[in-house]
Point group: C2
Chain length 110, copies 2
DNA sequence: CACTTGGTTAAGCATATGCTTAAGTATCGT
DNA sequence: ACGATACTTAAGCATATGCTTAACCAAGTG
């Protein structure tokens, strides 16, 4: 419970729920309406809308309403942000392994 | 609140907290003890241990206790699993773009 | 215009989460 | 043996999360 809520918090939080991941999975195959997103889920429509709000708040999904149907789609740049965080950690690790390699090579030489 | 909790749920949930991400970030630079992990965080030790339990339950972190110090480290294969989920979604998307491209090329030809 | 479709709003509730403090329990150094 | 170190356990509490139902509204359809 911190005072600051970062975009990354919201994204990982959004992805932490299986229903929301099903929604993202569906949207990764193209835009969809709210009721299309609801179809595979065994919960009330308002519940789906609440999940959608979490996804939108995280920036992972955006939507526009035309007439009475709201069409949702993934924001790929946002999803990239989550992926990048993980990638950056691995880079850290690889840098460390490199330094270790350098050190060992130095030992060898000396 | 579903009846099934998958590893992916636990991983994204684990990464959704800034304190836990700080812990993972620290561990991405090499193994650390519990109190080392606690150092940058402004909370009690028990709170840190609870975060650590979340990270361990998710599989992202593992630890062994030797003497009185518990040493923690990242399970890189587990972190890969989270990354892969995101990657798979993008693959979905690219497949879709490919099909769209094929379709448009077909239109052109016909 | 009535009816259906697609979504929205609001209120309420059970459980989960993120802390806290207080009180342990081992190990290590002297 | 004694104190300090490095956790560990337990209890409690405030807030957040994930649903529900009921009621509502606005846009298409016959």
């Amino acid at each position: 419970m911190l005072n600051q809520v970062t975009p990354l918090d919201l994204m990982f939080q959004a992805l932490a729920d299986p229903s929301r991941r099903i929604m993202v999975e569906r949207l990764s195959r193209g835009p969809a309406s709210v009721s299309e997103l609801a179809k595979p889920l065994t919960m009330s429509l308002p519940a789906v809308v609440q999940h959608l709000q979490v996804l939108e708040a995280s920036g992972l999904v955006r939507s526009e309403k035309v007439g009475r149907v709201r069409t949702c789609h993934i924001d790929w740049a946002a999803l990239q942000t989550a992926e990048d965080w993980i990638l950056d950690r691995r880079k850290n690790w690889e840098r460390r392994l490199d330094r270790l390699g350098d050190f060992l090579a130095e030992q060898e030489k000396g």
